[in-house]
Symmetry: C2
Subunit: 680 residues, 2 copies
């Protein structure tokens, strides 16, 4: 009907809505809603007649070839699992890689006659299988009839036929039901649904380098680097991507995200969704972030030693797991990716800038005398930040941007409305091509930002007085493949500082709207240097500040030393030291900083000053990582099979005070369940 | 503390979470949360001392220059509003365009002495104003001290100083508080906060063409095209972007989206957020979509005649408004954009394909005899679809992709996890550069998809038998600037069908993963043609199907005519006609299709057939728009000012049956509030 005389709603004036808006319906907008749950399955009829029933009803299809047994050949020792490198998975299904042939043994009621017998294997996924959407895939044994999945008969001996199937290299990743269907002139007759015949198609592994592939897909134990640039620490992690239930947890994560089944053939879309789902922000995802130091009602991020607990808990409780910080997000993400057969590794970026909207500056604000203004200094630089790299082609981008892609599940800033990051091509980042999806600009800023010291005038305006262009993104590390050593991959993210390539890249990035600090204030002719310190928790120590006069005239400096306890995110917890006199030695007493110490806290010293003669500003920054008292673990015996061992844990309290409420947590991957003990 | 001996949480084993996860805290992760509400303001102290209090406390700043009056010069007749083309806005604030100078009159307690008196205007937005983030902007009258916003004194007469301010062209769009601050040696003294001094910075208008700028920013009444390709219909719409309260509603929409204040200077980010917020999906946005034909508890989409009601209702109720279909989304989005000074227009695409995951095919499935399989045919083509174009530069993309950008608020498919679409560069779409954000690939498919007729084999596989490459995206229309005629802008979206450029573009798009139908099945040598029909609702009519034999041999066709009532989205409501004999004339009786008619429904005929001699398939499609009985409106008198007028509405029922429960809704923009009347 026309707009004028339309059959309008009872009340044409907009009613003041009460309660939530009416349930949204797809009716009229789309023919059918898109299937978005792998767990939902559809039942395919056992008999499907082509013909109308005759006077005597339908002819019995049982006259034709009958299937008495189907063997998925999924025992660990069998060709399928070995050829597909999936022998390590503990699961109830056959797991195969995309684009790689696997075999199925079918036992018929009588010998198979290629001439007259017609049969097909059918693979079905999701609730509304459609051939054109790749959710219903029949596979035929004959050359003449081939679909996106290839099929051929590799062996026939009396009643047993061995058929080889090659799933399309870009097929949907997930759990399929397999049917064997016999095609007769009157209709189709199939085997009943049986979960023992489910298969999981996984990602083919494109990574050429064999050692890297071993490391980034098959290796279950890993090392994650943390600490600070000049004092790198290591953390072992048990990724456990092959453990029982992990695979299902990964599928559940995609279902929970209501990711359309038809998108699940595309690794780009999969990792994008996962980077959002692994944190609990805005989608009830896997891990709740907590940097506060108060971990009541959850597990302290530093207590985790592996991903298995976390993923299984999420899958069973359907609730976000508490708590995580960046390396936990990266580690669990790594498990997800390796489990799906997407090569991945955890990388650590030292002095990682926390970008706010494509601005390449980290602002440190001082008053006119060069004294830090802690209240107005809002930006922070993470001492280190962990993210993931995953290896894939990028057909959605111009050639040359495939290979390693950055993905990050830590909720830092929202990307296009949700807490997620990537996949961003490492190549694109290195060459400043930050116009390509996803979030290349954000990652670019994390490793390329400048630290800008501003002097704040009385009228509230800021004047940049010093720019440090080399502090951020000082070092990017990952574990060496097939080895326990660290590997410096900084050069994969940026060209050498000061090189012409570097400048071109930064200019290119600016074309795409990355704002940088243009002004380059004159360098002062006095250097200030802070020493490297090795300090254990509880130590008192001296901080010697060196001033080096590079001019041949007299220089007087009004210097300020500010020391604070910072989280590894660089956010100040408490300022414990403030020297305004011109002493060159600051005495730091432990009781000053011990009060507000959280795990992984560091002491962050900033020296700023103004040269009287020239009025120029000098600055120096230093992060001092506090060494922790070590635990000494001794194990009795040589560790024979089925022989008990006793582990003694020794710990010496270095502090002048007594420790109270101490927890000790132990875990022996494969030997011992996580145990915890409490001491008064 | 170390990982080994960390002060762990009370229970190191993951507790089965109960209830929602703990409140997420930013503590430790970031120094301060990002401000994301324009409505939240911060109070700036009236006195800000630079010095420590002396023995007699602080010196009184009142000794210095005092401000007795501030005039924002916002009366419609004053220079500000005229120069900024904002005289039409009904609002309490001064509204200025970015990058354009505006003036403020300040009356001091005594004549202003440039030599000794120091003062500044301060513009503050959001809850945590920072100079470095552009949320606190001081503006100085002196050349020597300039910030991103320029200031100069244009006139001084005794106590009155007129100052001109030019906001940065990329400054944040939103509501600022303005303060006048006097800077003294001892501190700053400012005027108190006063809402009469609020200003709104709006977008500068980059569009060069004067007529287009008038149309796309200033014009309040518009025409939206609908109907079908060969029977175009028009709908008038009252955008009302200048109406009282609309501006605030637009700001509320951004606040409701919790859009970070610092992002609000970037039109790209603003329109991206708005395209998600204008539909209620996944973010409780402005409009609830409903295509079902049942509009109980809301307004039928066809009943709306303007945007004002909708936006005001949303702002006051804070609840999504019921109901919308594509043109309502596009119309209200248009109001939002024009209100913010972003040039925009509503465009209509005829035969708009509904893409599913970057696949460029619309599948129509037939059985082996060429008979349509309605159950298996899931894809649909919208008879028409409306979206918006907005004009802006795209610094985030390589040069050449600025200008008109497609944005679409209709919830069709999720883009990167939310129902939204764009901004996608029209240039990028035309040239197949669909790798650039945002959603260029989706829009590309809407206008370039192929219609593929598949013949479904008994074994479930599909064989493409006919491909129609010209049906989709047949015509793109918008209103001509400064005129009430329609303008064909199809050539801005694609090159001429069959041209070499067109082929190159499609190949380019395929490089970026747009899958198309490769096979080109042989064309049949028989054409089937459906006539153009002009049918009014309730007519019985004959459908003559012409078969043209282009070969010189005998041809026998087994043809099937399928007719269905479809929504404008192309989704079938009911199949009312199914002819399987070889008659060339189909009689269509109104009672067959009247039953399930909804407003804007069309009759959709598909003829398919198989040529016996060659086995080739022939197809034809036709959408017949039903003409509606017109209303005749007569108005008494010539319509003198303050003279009553009587409008008579006449309506003849063309149907053989009596109408019941009829509503008539009238509105006279500017003259009469929406009225509605009900007839039994």
């Amino acid at each position: 009907m026309s707009d004028e005389a339309t059959i309008a709603a009872p009340s044409p004036a907009p009613p003041a809505p009460t309660g939530p808006p009416p349930k949204v319906t797809n009716r009229g907008r789309a023919a059918a809603p898109a299937a978005s749950a792998n767990s939902e399955t559809s039942d395919i009829p056992e008999y499907e007649y082509f013909i109308q029933p005759g006077p005597r009803g339908y002819p019995p299809l049982t006259e034709y070839l009958d299937i008495s047994e189907v063997d998925m050949m999924k025992r660990p020792d069998e060709s399928n699992k070995i050829a597909h490198h999936t022998a390590l998975y503990h699961s109830d299904y056959l797991i195969v890689r995309r684009g790689q042939e696997f075999q199925v043994k079918i036992t018929f009621s009588r010998p198979y006659k290629p001439a007259e017998d017609k049969f097909a294997l059918e693979f079905v996924i999701g609730s509304s299988p459609q051939f054109s959407k790749g959710t219903y895939v029949p596979v035929f044994p004959t050359k003449q009839r081939q679909t996106t999945w290839e099929g051929r008969i590799t062996n026939t001996s009396d009643n047993v036929v061995t058929m080889a199937i090659t799933p399309a290299a870009n097929c949907i990743v997930g759990k399929y039901q397999m049917y064997v269907a016999v095609v007769t002139p009157y209709g189709i007759r199939r085997t009943r649904k049986e979960s023992t015949r489910d298969i999981l198609a996984f990602d083919a592994v494109f990574l050429d380098d064999e050692t890297e592939r071993q490391e980034c897909v098959m290796t279950e134990m890993g090392i994650i680097y943390h600490g600070s640039y000049d004092d790198i620490a290591e953390r072992d992690w048990n990724y456990g991507q092959f453990n029982y239930g992990i695979l299902d947890s990964c599928l559940y994560i995609m279902d929970r995200a209501e990711m359309p089944i038809t998108n699940r053939g595309d690794p780009i879309k999969i990792v994008r969704v996962a980077s959002a789902m692994l944190n609990s922000r805005d989608d009830e995802g896997v891990l709740v972030g907590n940097w506060s130091g108060d971990y009541t009602y959850g597990v302290a991020p530093t207590s985790w030693t592996g991903s298995t607990d976390i993923l299984l808990t999420y899958n069973s409780s359907k609730m976000p797991v508490c708590y995580a910080q960046c390396w936990v997000y990266a580690a669990v993400f790594n498990t997800f990716l390796r489990c799906l057969g997407i090569p991945s590794r955890v990388v650590t970026n030292y002095y990682s800038a926390h970008d706010n909207d494509g601005n390449l500056k980290t602002d440190i604000i001082m008053d006119e005398n060069g004294k830090i203004d802690r209240n107005r200094t809002r930006d922070s630089i993470w001492n280190y930040h962990c993210w993931n790299e995953c290896y894939m082609s990028r057909p959605d981008l111009p050639p040359g941007f495939g290979g390693w892609q950055v993905v990050d599940a830590t909720p830092q800033e929202t990307s296009d409305g949700m807490y997620r990051c990537g996949p961003a091509s490492v190549q694109a980042i290195k060459h400043g091509q930050i116009c390509f999806p996803f979030d290349a600009a954000f990652v670019f800023a994390e490793i390329n930002s400048d630290v800008v010291f501003h002097s704040r005038r009385k009228d509230g305006t800021l004047e940049p007085v010093r720019v440090n262009r080399t502090h951020v993104g000082r070092l990017v590390l990952t574990k060496s493949p097939g080895d326990v050593t660290r590997r410096d991959i900084t050069d994969q993210y940026k060209f050498a500082e000061g090189s012409t390539e570097e400048r071109t890249v930064l200019e290119k990035a600016e074309e795409y709207g990355c704002k940088r600090e243009k002004s380059s204030p004159p360098a002062a002719d006095v250097d200030v240097v802070l020493p490297n310190l090795e300090i254990s928790v509880g130590d008192n120590f001296e901080l010697n500040v060196e001033f080096e006069n590079k001019s041949d005239e007299r220089r007087t400096v009004d210097a300020y030393i500010s020391g604070s306890v910072v989280y590894y995110t660089g956010v100040a917890i408490e300022i414990f030291l403030y020297l305004t006199d011109k002493k060159e030695v600051a005495i730091v007493e432990s009781k000053k900083y011990m009060k507000r110490l959280v795990e992984q806290a560091n002491l962050h010293f900033i020296v700023t000053g103004k040269i009287r003669e020239t009025g120029l500003i000098i600055t120096a920054m230093k992060v001092v990582t506090l060494r922790n008292p070590k635990l000494i673990i001794e194990v009795s015996g040589r560790g024979k099979v089925s022989e008990e061992m006793i582990a003694t844990v020794e710990f010496t309290n270095p502090f002048s005070f007594n420790l109270e409420n101490v927890y000790i947590r132990m875990e022996g991957p494969g030997m011992m369940e996580p145990k915890s003990r409490y001491y008064r």
